[in-house]
């Protein structure tokens, strides 16, 4: 995969918004790569530990890929929408990796600096949420998507509605249902 210019990324994003076939698949790897680069950069920060919202990570990726230019909030929301999936993927990967590290404590020489942790949530919770989301996906795909957008990419209800092309009221209903359903699902495990 070669790097694309900000212009090319913007065009791809516009294609995604216009529903052009294959555009999302083409854009996704770039967003994923950038997010990975950024998240690992925070691991190398030497002097302090540092909390940040996933939103900030996505925003940074956005600036890197598209630049700091005037672009409508709709476009921005769509970018965040596309990034949500990658963000979830990266965070769950990290949680799993960290879990395996814990298990293999004393054997692995992997530096702890390479690990990052999800704040105040155990890795188990993240993984459990991911599993529950996968189930919800098969039942109500849109509801699971809303959780992904809101929780992993930090979108508001309005932005979520814009990305999924539904009314904010519908998004709100889906969100409510998803929360109830996911909570029950995780509690039952």
């Amino acid at each position: 995969m070669h790097d694309l210019s900000a212009q090319q990324i913007t065009l791809l994003l516009e294609d995604c918004i216009n529903g052009k076939k294959g555009a999302v698949d083409e854009l996704l790897p770039h967003v994923y790569n950038e997010l990975r680069k950024i998240s690992s950069k925070y691991l190398r920060d030497e002097y302090r530990n540092h909390t940040l919202q996933t939103t900030e990570l996505v925003h940074e990726a956005y600036i890197k890929l598209i630049g700091d230019q005037n672009i409508s909030w709709q476009n921005r929301a769509h970018f965040f929408g596309i990034a949500a999936q990658s963000m979830r993927q990266i965070l769950v990967e990290h949680a799993r990796r960290r879990k395996s590290l814990k298990r293999g404590e004393g054997q692995s020489n992997v530096s702890l600096e390479e690990v990052f942790e999800v704040s105040e949530k155990t890795d188990d919770q993240i993984i459990a949420l991911d599993e529950a989301l996968k189930k919800l996906e098969t039942l109500e795909e849109r509801s699971s998507k809303i959780v992904e957008l809101r929780y992993f990419s930090g979108l508001t209800i309005e932005e979520t509605a814009e990305v999924l092309n539904i009314s904010p009221a519908t998004a709100k209903r889906d969100w409510n249902f998803a929360k109830a359903w996911l909570y029950r699902e995780i509690a039952a495990q």
């Binding site: 691991l43 002097y47 909390t51 919202q53 700091d68 702890l112 039942l139 929780y151 249902f177 109830a180």
Partner: protein, 850 residues
Amino acid sequence: MNQDRLNKVRELFDEASNLAVDKRESFLNQKCKDDPELKNEIFSLFNSLGNTKDFLEEPLTIVEQNKRDFVDPYIGKQIGNYIIDGEAGVGGMGIVYTGKRNDKEFDQKVAIKILKHGITSEYLLKRFQIERQTLANLQHQNIARLLDGGRTVDGLPYLVMEFIDGIPITECCNQKKLSIEEKLKLFREVCNAVQYAHQNLIIHRDLKPGNILVTKDGIPKLLDFGIAKLIDEELVDGNEGLTRTGVWHLTPEYASPEQIKGEKITTASDVYSLGVLLYQLLTGNQPYKITNSSPAAISKIITEEKIIKPSERIIQSSEISASDKIINQEKLSAHLKGDLDNIILKAMHKDPLRRYVSVEQFSEDIRRHLIGLPVIAQKDTAGYRLNKFIKRHKVGFVSSVGFIVFLIASLIAIIWQANIAAKERDNAKLETQKVETVNNFLQEMLSSVDPTEVGKDVKVYDILKKASIDVGDNFSSHPEIEASVRKTIGVTLTNLGEFDEAKPHLIKSLELNNNVYGKESYQSAESMHELALYYHWIGDLNLADSLYTKSIKIFRNNSDSPPRSLAGAINDLGILKEEQAKYQESLKLLKEALNIYQKNFGETDRDVASTLNNLALTLESLNDIDGAEKYYKKSLEVYLKLYSPDRPEISTIYNNLAYIYIDKDSLSKAEEYFKKSLELKINSFGKNHSLVGLGFMNLGALEYTMNKFESSESNLLMAAENFKISLNENHVWVGLTDFWYGKILIEKSKFTDAEKYIKNALSIYKKNYPKDHPNEISANAELGIIYYHQKKYIEAENLLVTGYERIKQIKGEKDFNTIRILEYLVKLFNQTKNPQKLSFYKNLLNQSKN
């Protein structure tokens, strides 16, 4: 669970969600009478929902850490009178926490910044405390207050600040989709805050969007004033080396070249950063793309790379956007071109001495742009201001004197005159004293603005401002000098468009000259001439006329009147007569002025050129098209000998030649010349100058006659917008614009609105023109046409019949205006079923058309 079942669950869950909690049970009991399992399913979801509280509500937060189980030692701790309750973010200089006051009396939320470097010497600690005190004294509604500060137990300095709940100014502008004007106004509020701090001798040093938050109420708040300096000193102390001072925790995109180079930082550094910010607010882009973060690369870009003009930057970034966006961006670019480009580039000048002297001046220049006055920031200031001497419309150039040269020369002349007088008079001592007074005044004015500190462009403007205030005090015992100085100031202010400020100086100058030299002296006449020009400029033609006439009479009666003064007044009255449609008088006056100029100054003279242009205009009004063309070309020839071809005078000649092509019926060629001229005018005057409005009006009027109604309408609207800020509401051009716009509305069958515009034009004409001016006749005829459409046949008949007779006299029976009115008369008598009159006008129409 199968899909049907799930759909059912969803449906009932959503419906029940809309109900009050206590109504849900009965609702579900009723709906799930036969299906208790379904009911249980939904109840379990509601139970679950009741437990979710914070579940998933906050987007995921991640923590990376290099020590497992690291808990921030500050959270929950008390620092000074505050308790830290959370982390707000990490900046280059440390971590920012949120906190509250420990005592319950004040429930104020604060931001607590703990700096990451300790203070290691007592000297620095002392400095830190002094600086902190200074910052704490900053009290301004747009500055986040520094409340407290000190050292933590482990020796890290901390600062407690007002917590601001807002978003960065750049985001605010995007979210609210602010217009350029709104952005400029918001930006000026930021300038006020920075200016206030500068007055308190505090430089921000790190102005950037992240430090300028806008609250929900739309109030900008500046954070971290002067904090960068506190950090700097620690860095120095921390052995990081002087040369790197202040740069590496700054956002390099906003750092000035001198900051990058580690040179002395002054208020001009903040001016620069504000310039970058304005660039970004207006174009959506930063001036430089900094991708390589190596110090050498950043340093090279900021200190050496040429800044792309904001208006060009917008065009560049439009390449990637959809086509309608391009149009917007082109509009935006056109708006930025000229004043705003110049303002931003001046603020961002690489040499701090060439920037605005102060944030206040920067902000003032934006204000001037907003209200359509010429701005200080100009590429070629002398040329720009000189343009102001060119008089209006199809009207040529009023005799005028170079701007700076005029100011300096007239002051020198005062000294010189005083010297002569000193030799002649007995009281040489008194005269020497006068010379000294003028000298002192001059020196004081000239030194009040350090020429190395600002460009010479700024100097003149500042000198004037200062001079306006000081002149009364300095010359109270030398009224003749005061008169001269005031005249100079008044004329210059008039030419700068500062009419309100100019008027009292001109009047005072006339009064003083009357007292000193007598009412019949040429000195009084000169003051009177300038006052007449002022009234001419603001559109009070009657008053201007009588003052010109009076001054000319006085000049003629004095044999020592300078010939350029006499010819100048004659020329200007000639222009005025043309505007009043007294063409023969105009012709006579202009020929006389030309004669005086040629006799005294030869053929290649700027006033010869301008008078030739004026003569051509009058000839044109007299329908001597070939004569007019000949004079225009002569005038052009002289100008080209005197000046380079990009001078704005050339744009005026283009404009006037366009009229020639109209008369010769080559309308496309005329349109082309109008556009050429308009483009040059926007370039030289900026888009808010009234001459630019005139350009739009001329173009719109021409396009109307070419039946290009759409572009005509938009150009007339541009003219109207321009005049709203550049002229007073009773100016003839406003009337003319209303007239043409009214005609467009007739074409669009919006007769009620059309009537309003035409009537407004008529009322303005009445204030400016003598009775029965051709423009008034035309407007009355249009009113007749409107009444015809409104079926007010009696009123329509009156106006159309009178209009027809008069327009036929002026334009001839074959002119399309004449024919148009005839056609309406025929329609009218057809409607009112008046066979006699119908056949009469039908005959006339046939004659005209043949």
